[in-house]
């Protein structure tokens, strides 16, 4: 055993070797593995090592202690505790949540009333004349353009006005 040279199994046969260990290999696959094992020392050795490895691990098997109804009751008590804990958390937040709900409802109502008032007021009051502050100054700065001369006489008159203006 000591000083044994470790060789790995052929990769493509590893899953089949595992099946063979579990006694789940038969038919064509079983024959294919048998043929391979007869010619591959590495796989034979790996199979033996795996068999021993399984045997060693199975040493840890112990009859499972059946906790039965005791454990079931413990689990259900744990669930009830968790429900109560979650309930307590909800109880802490509940007044704040109710307050927030009331506040948001009041705000929504106030907004609706303001909107209603605005709509009613705009319907029943006359449209206001739009007055531009400082209208005379604006007219001075931006005089309305003179009427475009249409007839020949008007053209001549406008030229005369301009030259007179100079």
């Amino acid at each position: 055993m000591e000083g044994r040279k470790e060789r790995s199994a052929c990769r493509e046969f590893e899953a089949l070797l595992e099946d063979s260990l579990a006694g789940q290999l038969g038919g064509a696959e079983g024959e294919r593995l048998s043929a391979h094992l007869s010619s591959c020392a590495a796989c034979r050795q790996a199979l033996e090592e795996a068999r021993l490895g399984g045997q060693v691990v199975r040493l840890l098997r112990q009859p499972t202690e059946d906790l039965g109804a005791v454990f079931t009751r413990r689990v259900m008590a744990g669930i009830r505790d968790e429900e109560a804990r979650r309930g307590r958390t909800w109880d802490f937040w509940r007044p704040i949540e109710v307050l927030a709900l009331r506040f948001s409802l009041t705000a929504a109502l106030a907004l609706a009333l303001l909107c209603g008032y605005g709509v009613i007021h705009s319907r029943f009051s006359a449209p206001a004349e739009v007055e531009i502050a400082g209208q005379p100054e604006i007219r001075e700065l931006f005089p309305e353009p003179a009427h475009q001369p249409i007839t020949n006489d008007q053209i001549l008159l406008s030229i005369a006005d301009r030259s007179h203006g100079k």
Binding site: E18, L21, L52, Q55, L59, F71, M76, G78
Partner: protein, 224 residues
């Protein structure tokens, strides 16, 4: 002398559940539906049916007896509060075992420990015992000797990766099938087989290395 059962012809541990007949599966689905509607009695029945297997999954991952029951209880509490989200596309047991596996890894992450970690080397006597067991396949009938051997095996197992050790323990100790393990861990069936096969080989390699080291030390001690 108690024989350790061979692979393939093993006696099933208590946790191993036989394949369920369709009627029982339908009955379970009905229980799940009732539990989803808030029937605590139905959930209690589900707990009672699955507790051994959940304890086995948790035990196979944590290997710490003192934590196993607490974590298994947390698994069921978590399942109770999220059962409405279970869509019945898989078996209830598969869903439950996945919760158990995740809960175990969460616990280990929080605690920042490996399931079991041994640093001490094997003593000469321990190696002799283990060697005798490997060569003959016979475990000592004496419970304390057997427990000591078990500790050595745990020591060897601690050299494997967490996931490989978990796969090996779920299969060989807790009696889960390859299909169940692949469902639980979301791994391909072939991947589970290959990893299991390699993990066993690695275990034996570790054993031989340690065995060799102890033999060498022993020889050196005699010479000295």
């Amino acid at each position: 002398m108690a024989d350790v059962p061979e692979h393939g012809a093993v006696q099933r541990p208590l946790a191993q559940a036989p394949a369920r007949p369709p009627r029982q599966a339908e009955d379970e689905r009905a229980l799940v539906r009732r539990a989803q509607q808030g029937d605590a009695g139905a959930f209690e029945e589900l707990v009672s049916r699955h507790q051994q297997r959940v304890l086995a999954v948790v035990g196979g991952t944590l290997r710490r007896r003192e934590d196993v029951e607490d974590i298994a209880q947390q698994v069921f509490v978590k399942a109770y509060f999220s059962i409405k989200r279970f869509d019945m596309r898989s078996a209830f047991s598969t869903w439950l075992y996945k919760i158990a596996v995740n809960e175990c890894w969460d616990y280990l992450r929080k605690k920042r420990v490996r399931p079991l970690l041994y640093e001490a080397d094997l003593s000469e006597d321990q190696v002799r015992q283990l060697d005798a067991f490997v060569n003959t396949g016979r475990a000592p009938a004496d419970a304390s000797r057997r427990a000591e051997l078990g500790e050595m095996v745990e020591q060897l197992l601690s050299q494997l990766s967490d996931e490989d050790r978990q796969i090996l323990l779920l299969k060989e100790v807790e009696g889960f099938s390859v299909q169940e393990i692949s469902d639980m861990l979301d791994l391909n069936v072939n991947t589970v087989k290959v990893r299991m096969f390699r993990a066993r080989a690695r275990l034996m390699r570790t054993y031989r290395q340690r065995f060799g080291e102890t033999r060498r030390k022993r020889a050196a001690g005699k010479r000295g």
